[in-house]
Amino acid sequence: MSEPRRMHPISIFLRMLKIIKDVIIPMAIGFIAVIKNISAMFWWLPFVLGGGILLIIGLFAFLYWFRFTYRTEDDELRIESGIFVRKKRYISRHRIHSVNTSANIFHRLFGLVKLEVQTAGGGKEAEGVIPALSKLDASAIQQFVKRKEQDVVLENTEDIKLSEHKVSYRLSFRRLLAAAATSGGTGIIFGFLFAITQQADNVMDINIYSFFYHWLLEQSLLLSILFAVGSLAVTWMVAMIGTILKYCFFEISKQGNELFIQRGLLERKEMTIPLHRIQAVKVEENIFRQPFGLLAVSAEIAGGEAGKDEKNISTVLFPLLRKKELQAFLEELLSDYVVETAYRKPPKRAFMRYLFLPLAISVLITGVLIYFFGGYGLFALVLVVLTIIFCVLDYRDAGVSWTADTLTMRYRELTRVTVHVHRKRVQTFYESQHYFQSKKQLGTLKVAVASGGTAGSRFKVKHLEEKDADEAYDWYSFRSQKRTAQ
C-alpha cells in the first residue's frame, strides 16, 4: 500500500457533521439576529444564507477529504492533510505502540472504521488519526505495524507457539445487566442533575430548590417519598443504559504479547494493548458489588490517550467478574499478578486518624444545616452516621503487601480499590508522616505510576504501622537491598 490513498468519500459527510457541530451555536445566534431584523419582503434571505453556509461547509469538507492521504512507505505510516497549511506526519512503525479502531453509527452503516495510532508521546489526542477507512485498509495498516514484532519473535520459535494459543473472555448478557445495575453511576448522574439545576438557576432566574422545597412541603409525605424513589429509579435507569451501551458485547482476548479489547453497542471500540505497556492492575469493588462478591478490573496504561472520554484514565479490562474468577483471569491474560496476599494492616491506634478528619467535617456540615433549617436539619445526622460507617470500612480495608517484585495496595474511597504494581513499574515511591502520625508511629505510603499522558496516577495507603511503612521503603530502595545482600 505504498501509493497514497484517500479516505472513503463518506468522510466528507462526517467532516461536515463535525464542522456543523463546532459552529452551530455561534451560527444560531447570528441567525436569530438576522431573522429579527429582516422585513417580510426578504423572507427568503435566511434560506439562501443557510444554503450558502451549508455549501461552503460542504466545500471545505470536500477539500479536506481531497487533501487527506495516507500511505505506508519505508517503514513509516505517512499521513498528509490540510487544505491551506499542508501537514505531513510520518510515524515510524517502530515507534507505534498500538493501533486502535472505533466505529460510530455512520461508520457502521458503511462498514468503515476510524483508526487511531498511538506512540509513546503523551497528550490528549492520538498521534495519528484517519477518520474513516474501510476495515480492510485498517487491518492492512495493523498488519504493517505488527510486522516488527514478528521480526523479533522469529528468533524464538517457542514464543510463536505460545502466542498461537488464544484466550478470550466475553461478557455474557446476564453479566452485562448485572454490571449495569451495579455500576454506581447513579452518583455521577446526581452530580450532573445538580449541575443542571444550578445552571437553570442562573438562566431562568428562579430558585429551583426553594420552588421545589415549597412544592414538596405542600405534598403529603407519602407523595414526596414516592417522588424521591421515582427520581432515584429514573437516574438509575439512565446510568444503566449508559453502561449497557458502553460495555455491550465486551470481549477481551490475548494474542501473543497483546491484549485485544472490543466493546460497545452503537459505537464499537477496538483497542490493542501491548502487555508491556501495562503499568498497574486495579481491582475495584464498589459498594453495590462488594456484598455480592463482584468486582471490575482495569489497568493503568502508559502513553496514549486510552479512555480519554472518561474522567477515569484507567482502561477497563473487564467490567464484571466474580471474586473467585479474578486469579484465573489475571493469570491467563496477564500471567504475572497474584491476587491473594496477607495484608499488613494499620494498627488499632490508627483508627482515630481515619475517623478524625471526615467526622469533624461532617459534624460541621450537620451543625450548619441544623442551624439554618432547625428540625429538618436533623436529617443531616444520617450523614454523620454514614461517615462513621465509611471510616470504619476505610480503616478495616486499608493495607499493603509485597512479594519480591510486586506491590499490592488496598484502600477505600467509597469503592474498595486494590492495586497491583510491579516494582519496576513504580516511577516514584513516597513515605510521609505528619505530627500526629509521628506521635503514634504511623506512616503513609504513596506510589506514582505512569499512566495516560504526562501526569501519571498515584495510589496511597494512609496511617500504616511506621515499621511496615519503613520496611516497604526498604523493599523499594535499591540501596538498602544492596546492603542486605552484603
Partner: protein, 159 residues
C-alpha cells in the same frame, strides 16, 4: 521514618523563599492599606479593621518568617548511584525515592531572585512525576544535573 538524607540545600534558600513570600504578601498588604484609608468613607467599624490587621500580621509572620525556616530545616537530599532520596515538607514530612532508571530528564532553572543569590533549581522528571531540588549553589546545581544525567543513562527495561 527512615534516617534523613545527608545534604541540605543552600542556606540562602530561606532568603529566597522570604523574598518570594513577601512579594506575594504585597497584595493583601496593599488591600488592607486601601481599606484602612477609606475606613470612614466605607463606614467600616473599628473592630473589623483590628481583626483584619491582626490576621494579616500573623500571616506575614507565618508565611515570611516561620514557614521558610521550617521548610529549609526539613529539606534534604542525597544522590546515590541507583536512586535519589529527597525529604521535604512542612507539616507533612515526605521521604521520596526516585530510581535512576526511571529518570527521563534533568533540568536546571534559575529565576531572577535565585539568580541574585547565585542559586539554581534542579528538576528531575520521570514518566509520572517531576521533583524540584530548589536553591542549590549554581556550580553545585550544574554538577548535580550532569551527574544525574550520567547515572540515569543506564539501559532501561521498559516504559
Amino acid at each position: 521514618m527512615k534516617t534523613q538524607p545527608s545534604n541540605r540545600i543552600a542556606a540562602n534558600a530561606k532568603k529566597v523563599w522570604r523574598i518570594n513570600a513577601s512579594l506575594y504578601m504585597l497584595l493583601p498588604i496593599i488591600a488592607a492599606g486601601v481599606v484602612t484609608y477609606f475606613q470612614n468613607a466605607w463606614s467600616i467599624p473599628d473592630y473589623i479593621l483590628y481583626i483584619g490587621w491582626a490576621v494579616l500580621i500573623a500571616a506575614l509572620f507565618i508565611f515570611i518568617w516561620l514557614l521558610p525556616a521550617v521548610r529549609w530545616k526539613r529539606w534534604r537530599y542525597e544522590v546515590f548511584e541507583q536512586e535519589i532520596y529527597i525529604q521535604s515538607g512542612i507539616l507533612i514530612v515526605t521521604q521520596t525515592i526516585v530510581p535512576m532508571i526511571r529518570v527521563q530528564h534533568v533540568d536546571t532553572e534559575q529565576g531572577p531572585v535565585l539568580k541574585k543569590f547565585g542559586l539554581a533549581t534542579v528538576s528531575v522528571s520521570t514518566a509520572a512525576t517531576t521533583h524540584h531540588i530548589p536553591a542549590l549553589a549554581l556550580e553545585e546545581a550544574l554538577e548535580l544535573r550532569d551527574r544525574i544525567g550520567v547515572l540515569a543513562r543506564v539501559e532501561e527495561d521498559d516504559v
